[in-house]
Symmetry: C2
Subunit: 308 residues, 2 copies
């Protein structure tokens, strides 16, 4: 499909792309670039690409598709570094969790004659680094593209075809709307998870070993997200600040209202609050976005012989 693909950044997303590109035969040559020698060495050991370099400009030379998979705060520096080496007609995309900030950082560095199309595959796990990738990561997951008004329709179609070949369904969205949607479905849950795990670590009357021991009663569900890459998430917070602050403040208002209902023992209000949230889970399962098995299928995965 492409002569040469350059993967700039080879963490969970970059390495998963490497796997699926190989499996589907989407490129003649995969050039892998990352800033850290150690990570690059690991990518080489894993055989993720055909060539390896710490110089992103060298990787993108002659590439038909460049995929930038770095923490969003590093997008501007990468764009500046590759700018002079991009091949005319090349498609440059990214996978960042915020889109307005990535556009603001990268667009000024994009030379005439290349196609810059920001994107965001809605896929991930709590693991990071080149060892974490696997080819099925994008299977049946959405990939949101946020093309600019001037984006060439043909280049956009080519990028869509690429992501479909990776197993994704494609959606298209305005970058600012993307940032608001992700603030609620991804950034807010992530921050709440970090926060609750932090709160639980700080108690005087309950020990950390008790928190760990009895975590199956609910707490453990939050620790998965809270194990995610801190650099990535620091950058997301700094680069989608307004939308995140708005969601956090709505969340806090709602929480204050729930606290008040508990203090005043308003059982009816609590029952109503706890009832309306059930339907959403059902819809998520029906939309194929989660498994129906109890406990996310954990017990089935453990081979406990429990019903699924």
């Amino acid at each position: 499909m492409f002569g040469r693909i350059a993967l700039i950044g080879i963490g969970l997303i970059g390495s998963s792309l490497a796997h699926v590109i190989r499996r589907e035969g989407l490129a003649g040559h995969v050039a892998v670039s990352t800033r850290s020698e150690a990570t690059l060495g690991r990518a080489r050991e894993l055989g993720l690409g055909d060539s390896y370099t710490t110089d992103p400009a060298e990787a993108v030379r002659d590439a038909d598709l460049v995929i930038v998979s770095v923490p969003v705060g590093a997008s501007g520096a990468v764009a500046a570094a590759i700018s002079g080496a991009l091949k005319p007609g090349a498609i440059i995309t990214d996978v960042g969790s915020t889109k307005r900030s990535v556009i603001d950082q990268m667009l000024p560095h994009m030379p005439e004659g290349v196609h810059f199309i920001p994107g965001h595959p809605i896929a991930g796990t709590e693991y990071s680094g080149p060892d974490a990738g696997f080819a099925a990561l994008f299977t049946n997951r959405w990939c949101i593209l946020t093309p600019l008004p001037e984006t060439d329709p043909e280049a956009l179609d080519t990028l869509k075809t690429f992501w479909r070949a990776c197993g994704s369904d494609i959606d298209q969205m305005d970058p600012d709307h993307h940032d608001r949607v992700l603030a609620v479905v991804s950034h807010l849950p992530q921050l709440i998870s970090y926060n609750i795990v932090g709160t639980a670590s700080d108690l005087e009357t309950v020990t950390e070993s008790e928190v760990i021991k009895y975590s199956a009663s609910g707490f453990r569900d939050f620790t998965r997200l809270a194990a995610s890459d801190p650099t990535m998430w620091r950058d997301v917070c700094l680069h989608n600040k307004e939308a995140i602050l708005e969601m956090l403040s709505r969340f806090s208002e709602d929480l204050a209202s729930m606290q008040r209902a508990i203090r005043w023992e308003d059982g009816k209000k609590l029952f109503d609050l706890f009832t309306r949230t059930r339907a959403i889970r059902k819809s998520i399962i029906e939309a194929g976005q989660d498994v129906e098995m109890p406990d996310f299928g954990r017990q089935a995965a453990r081979g406990d012989g429990s019903k699924s």
Copy 2:
């Protein structure tokens, strides 16, 4: 092990007990009782017991072990109803998520000569009702017993043996400490889940269908808990009010501090907050309280062929 066990309440926990009692041959006769005719009928269709009645007093007559598995707010009424029918020497226990309130409700109704030993198996799924039960629910899960100072050691040993036969490990704790521990590992995560799902349903700029569509980016992890039984959780809030309010207020303080770090773009503070939470997940996995597979093993459970 027992001649007759009475199960008062036949929801997720009661029906799981029915399954494991049968599998392990722990009783000669299982008497099932629940208030609702419809639920009782379903329990009969499922063959969960040997006799069925809506009258808890009838169920407990001649029972050697009585297990009360009802929303904690109903404990007092059940205790009053069974009080006169309890067999001398019988063990009466419960499975409620709060212990001080259950003791306060039930103890006054306990006649001389019976052994009342409050308990709480740390096990559950987001499903409820008699269809939700399965025998492996308690396997490798903790069961916390909160005996009273006057509890007979022999009766306590018998109850421990019962729970071990169900697959559980036993812990013993002061009831008030139990309520504080559970407030953080269970009640707080539960309320936060209800709250975030509520917040996400109320947005004007992001539609509910978008929330559902892109939920795999984090949000879906919260919807599992938020699909839990609303009656049970209303009662928990009302019956562990002080500990829950304290945890909510610590959580809110921490969240305000995180919000401030985002507003003032304090990247270092955010990075530090997001780093210290990783270790806890590792400890939970090492303690055998969660699976190590990415995404709780969801993809493995779906049979996507992803690495586990």
